[in-house]
Symmetry: C2
Subunit: 257 residues, 2 copies
């Protein structure tokens, strides 16, 4: 089999991706530390140029599945250091944590933007903004009070489309073609006031994570700005951090498998 998609084959994509897929499977089925075939061998096996194989291997390396050592080869890199931080909606986040997401107490309004909010959203003060508040639950128990704001001009009729429990991001993508692409998040510790404590089912004065989040679309425009409160006794902020890999071609080191 020659891997020659594009001529008669299905829609998979380029040979790059086919090879990447094959290698990924191989790697996931291997023990950490074992070497994968050399690039030249793979090129011959798949009947493609070495550059193509390299592109596929680059991809695996970027995913952290393998580790390359110049002059020696490439080795399976298990720990599988959970993939780098990825943007997740509340629902996705909870599912990943093994809980069932939900929502209640939906509350949404349209109001003129304060100077602060206008600045954060990149609009003029006084422009209409949506203010959406929900109590998010995990396994039926309150987990967070989610408060978010969006410029009303960009999403006409949003509040009509939206229902409790809906994923905001999914709705933005489906109805307005807006893909949230990245977000800046800052967690601080806040003391719950009486109202929020009641919403979360905890004691007033309990400590909570206050998450301030700014989400942007592909072109860097702010889509959403909000400040949510997560129960300190139920939530954990996890992150996987790696060395600066601005250019993966820098700072290698020998080390053995």
């Amino acid at each position: 089999m020659t891997l020659d998609a594009r001529t008669q084959d299905a829609p998979p994509g380029g040979k790059r991706d086919l090879i990447r897929g094959a290698l990924e499977e191989l790697v996931r089925a291997s023990e950490p530390g074992v070497a994968i075939p050399s690039e030249r061998a793979l090129a011959e096996q798949f009947k493609v140029a070495r550059m193509t194989v390299r592109a596929a291997v680059d991809s695996l390396e970027a995913m952290g599945l393998i580790r390359r050592v110049p002059g020696r080869g490439a080795y399976v890199q298990h720990p599988m250091l959970a993939q780098p931080e990825v943007l997740r909606s509340f629902s996705q986040d909870m599912i990943l944590r093994g809980m069932v997401p939900g929502a209640r107490e939906f509350h949404a309004t349209v109001e003129p933007a304060s100077a602060y909010l206008a600045d954060k959203l990149g609009i003029a003060a006084g422009d209409d903004v949506y203010a959406i508040e929900r109590v998010r639950t995990a396994d039926g128990e309150p987990m967070a009070v989610e408060r978010t704001n969006l410029a009303a001009a960009g999403f006409p009729g949003l509040l009509d489309h939206m229902r409790v429990g809906d994923s905001l991001y999914d709705l933005l993508a489906a109805q307005y073609g807006v893909q949230v692409d990245s977000a800046e998040q800052a967690f601080t510790i806040a003391e719950l006031d009486e109202a929020d404590a009641r919403r979360l089912g905890t004691a007033p004065g309990a400590a909570a994570f206050a998450l301030t989040q700014t989400s942007r679309d592909l072109s860097g425009h702010v889509v959403e700005f909000g400040r949510s409160l997560y129960r300190g006794d139920r939530y954990v902020v996890r992150m996987q951090v790696g060395k600066d890999r601005t250019d993966s071609r820098l700072s290698r080191q020998p080390a053995e498998p």
Copy 2:
């Protein structure tokens, strides 16, 4: 000038990096949204093959400095969405936050590992481990109680080399050739007991970030495991999250500059 390093030139590196550097400078001096020269034009200008230019441009795209649109070109992508999360030592972290790092109350011992700790460090229960505790300061004020553990077998004489204020990571790299490459971090909220509150100069019972961290070297072995406390009133956990970009060649979208 032909950019032909490797023959007579200085040690910079490959043409790839030279071009990347030149482009980076250009991009940083440009307004967001403007197009950079086409790959073919750059290849001719620098007298290199287009594949070489592409490698440089790939690099810029990975850094988030530009955005490529198939069939149209590549555009400067300012917001400069602060680079993704990067592993930083306490000192680097504080400097980045505009404060002056310091340390006091250095305390270090060698003791046999508990079953829990042995599991975390990947050694046998009872093996010697270092337990290092420091109060870290920012601008002279206590910021965190840092507690960390390392397998003693891997770093003979560590406590003799180390002095208050030294960067542990720098020391590991310089003395033992061990590069910390990645870390898993989990933040929870903890209530400070009397002793820790005194160390941090806050009231007992105040809320703090409890950071549990596991650091690994390039080959995935655990280097360090620790649990530190950060003052809730002074510390902010920031993260920049992006969409899943397992393969940047997927899910593009038109959009205009």
